[in-house]
Symmetry: C2
Subunit: 477 residues, 2 copies
């Protein structure tokens, strides 16, 4: 948990010398008067299928939404129209420009005595190209990183690391590092191609894609993920003790720049309309599935939460801002653009929470808020408790698209979803609408609605801007 | 259950006039002396991973085995070598010739305002071709069959029938009829393309292939199965009320004839070597998966059962014949060739059982044997009981490859596997080795070993040839 910040020594803090001292002394609190409304809002949300229907609409009518694609542009128009149809007070687009990556075709097969096809998908960011070479297996990233330069000359490196299943997704750290760092390690050892066991916990012939990167100065090589059963198969073939050759053929790559948009809808606050509570998800998806759990659900449930707050007789004090972020998948482009655009307005953001971990039930709430605001968080947690949600201090961190802004001092909350099954589906063709449980999604809508409504009604702040001020005026430049 | 047969009036029966009368009066029985050996055999098989390892070898080293493909030919050589390595007394090949069907590429996408890809696979037997047209949905086969001629002119028919999950696979009858009869019904109504919800019970983006046929006089049209989530998606799109167009592009079709082989291994009987108990599975598979549950497991577990019988100090009275049948998937070609070749030897076949319903645990044994042999079947069931297997009278019928011969009078047994999950995997890319539970497979090996050993040791018969004799000498021509 973060200590009460020292606000002295910064320009902004200096100009507010007396006020912050009072803030630090006075705890942030949730007025009793709004708790009853929040409780009713919770029950209304639980009984509503609005979040489910919005997610259905996005994933059905648009389908996959690779950043910069025609479908991505349709998704932006869909989001704008949906915000408007839901009666949001303000709706607008903010451009986000990024390099465009395209997948055209991909295939792999064992050649020679064990000839057979393998199910693969190119890693996002991989160049195209066709290589056919002997495969060398490594049990994990460290083993490949230890391979001497030249030891894989003319070979294909294969990391066979099995990602662990966990409710909080903690297996994804080591799993995704195999994807982000493996290709560069392979190149350093001389490999001409890279294969990895998917960073996934399922047992289906659906490989998991995801962005990779190549270190400066290295010549990128075709890099792909095998489905889990195909990684098993390749490992069994290699265990037979004979050389195994694979032909990997990828047609994909970077192709100029594209511009998409963060799509934003607001429910205007009743007394402090210039201050905002931000919730949202990301609008883009990988191309293999229809981006239902990643992150159609995040968009749908936060749009629904905002709409249900907008339906109240009286809006909360602050504005509810719902953001459908552009191009999260290939490098948090929407989140970075937002942080840059609003760098001077960190204090106007009361707190922010992004939903980007599937559509499972929420089991905990945590924040990076200072001690003086934890009482208010606990009060929110009390209203969330009937949903099976417990107070969890400062566990975890901000969602991906708010993390660039959180690094600049934005207060964040985490409504932790049960991700036990998330990596069965994540970044695969199987990320489709049928995987979403409507009751679990309604529970998410209820939690986000209650959280956003109460945070927007709080007396006092959750620490936005205070840490950055103390750390050196990051939001004042 | 079959009545005690009337054996008079046929050439063969006439020559055995006294013997059959004695048989009919005397019940077939299992000698007490062999039950102890069978019990030991059961425990040995339960503790062995031999069936699992044989299945691993086939599905790993060969992979998919589409009839007539290069891999199918490799599989034949694999089976011959495996029988020999296991120490079978006799091993040989019998040619099987059939039309060859090939899959080269396949894709589908929604075009127009909802543009997005769909996951499809061509039905076996489909012609190639590309069609783009409006889709018309039918809830089931009957609805399409009721469509008037011309009502689908220039359209694509889509049957959205949901197959039911059942332990005994009973949902597959109506499910597979949508595949076998749907295309012809679509053509009659004027359709230029055919789509169906996969005959499957899963929720993955892996469509289920399988053979279809076109009625005489109809011009075949491109015909494919959507994965279950894609069928859901297409149904949701159609429910929006706007026309939905799909482009279906298949490159596949019939291409001349091919010859593969039934591969046969025998453990020679100790006192009646000319009489055989037949067990087996089919060696071919569809091309999408590696044919693990369909039917690598059937081949592996029956090969292992025969080998474990061969390891006994003394072989049973009759010969154990294990058959790895060719091209079951596209029309029981191996089973038909076998029935034709051995048409004169039906009586030499004591009884036959094929394993072709996955790798789940066996829960029941049934036979088409006459009343005088049911006591012996019940005795076998007693030895199987500790495996969780119960006597089930004459429920069910023969496995697919023995059904042509059974129609000619062959006695059959059914060792019924739990198929609750079978149609999650059947004919999909997901039919891979990792789906097999080694303990369940060992239970299958134990059951087949006990069944085959005891049937081969029985005093008296299980009715082979008697029904055909009575029905008109089908095996005497």
């Amino acid at each position: 948990m973060r200590a009460i910040p020292n606000l002295l020594g910064t320009t902004l803090a200096a100009s507010l010398l007396l006020a912050p001292a009072a803030q630090a002394a006075e705890a942030t609190r949730i007025p009793d008067a709004v708790v009853e409304t929040a409780t009713q809002l919770r029950e209304t949300a639980l009984a509503s299928d609005l979040g489910y229907r919005i997610t259905e609409s996005l994933t059905t009518e648009i389908g996959p939404r690779l950043p910069g694609s025609e479908a991505d542009a349709r998704a932006v128009q869909w989001a704008k129209a949906k915000f408007e149809a839901l009666g949001y007070d303000k709706v607008w687009l903010e451009p986000v420009t990024f390099p465009k990556w395209e997948r055209r075709s991909e295939s792999a097969r064992v050649t020679g005595r064990y000839a057979q096809p393998l199910s693969v998908t190119a890693l996002g960011g991989s160049p195209g190209g066709t290589v056919e070479a002997e495969v060398v297996r490594f049990p994990d990233l460290a083993a490949l990183e230890a391979a001497p330069a030249g030891s894989l000359d003319g070979r294909i490196a294969f990391i066979d690391y099995k990602m662990e299943r966990a409710r909080d997704g903690s297996g994804y750290g080591p799993g995704s590092r195999v994807r982000s760092r493996g290709p560069s390690a392979a190149i350093r050892a001389g490999a001409i191609g890279y294969l990895m066991r998917s960073a996934g916990t399922d047992s289906h012939r659906n490989p998991h894609t995801g962005i990779t990167r190549f270190d400066e100065g290295l010549e990128p090589i075709p890099s792909a993920a095998l489905s889990v059963p195909d990684a098993d198969q390749l490992a069994r073939l290699l265990a037979l003790g004979q050389p195994v050759t694979v032909r990997l053929a990828l047609d994909c790559g970077w192709d100029g720049e594209a511009t998409s948009h963060n799509v934003i809808g607001e429910i205007t606050g009743s007394s402090k309309p210039d201050e905002v509570v931000l919730i949202g998800g990301h609008l883009d998806s990988w191309d293999l599935g229809t981006g239902a759990i990643d992150d159609g659900a995040g968009v749908g449930l936060t749009m629904a939460a905002g709409k249900l707050i907008g339906d109240l007789d009286r809006a909360p004090a602050r504005t509810i801002r719902v953001v459908a972020f552009a191009n999260e998948e290939q490098g948090l482009w929407g989140g970075k653009a937002y942080a840059e655009k609003y760098a001077d307005e960190v204090r106007k953001h009361q707190i922010a929470a992004e939903s980007d971990f599937g559509a499972g039930r929420i089991y905990a709430i945590s924040t990076g808020a200072p001690d003086y605001a934890q009482g208010a968080v606990k009060r929110i947690a009390q209203v969330l408790a009937p949903l099976g949600i417990e107070y969890a201090g400062d566990r975890g961190g901000p969602g991906p698209d708010i993390s660039p802004f959180a690094a600049g001092g934005l207060a964040w909350a985490r409504l932790a979803q049960d991700g036990t099954d998330y990596f069965d589906l994540h970044h695969t063709p199987d990320d489709t609408f049928d995987k979403i449980d409507p009751a679990a999604l309604a529970q998410n809508v209820a939690a986000y609605a209650v959280f956003a409504y109460l945070a927007a009604s709080a007396e006092g702040d959750f620490g936005s801007g205070t840490k950055a001020d103390a750390d050196g005026d990051a939001d004042g430049k």
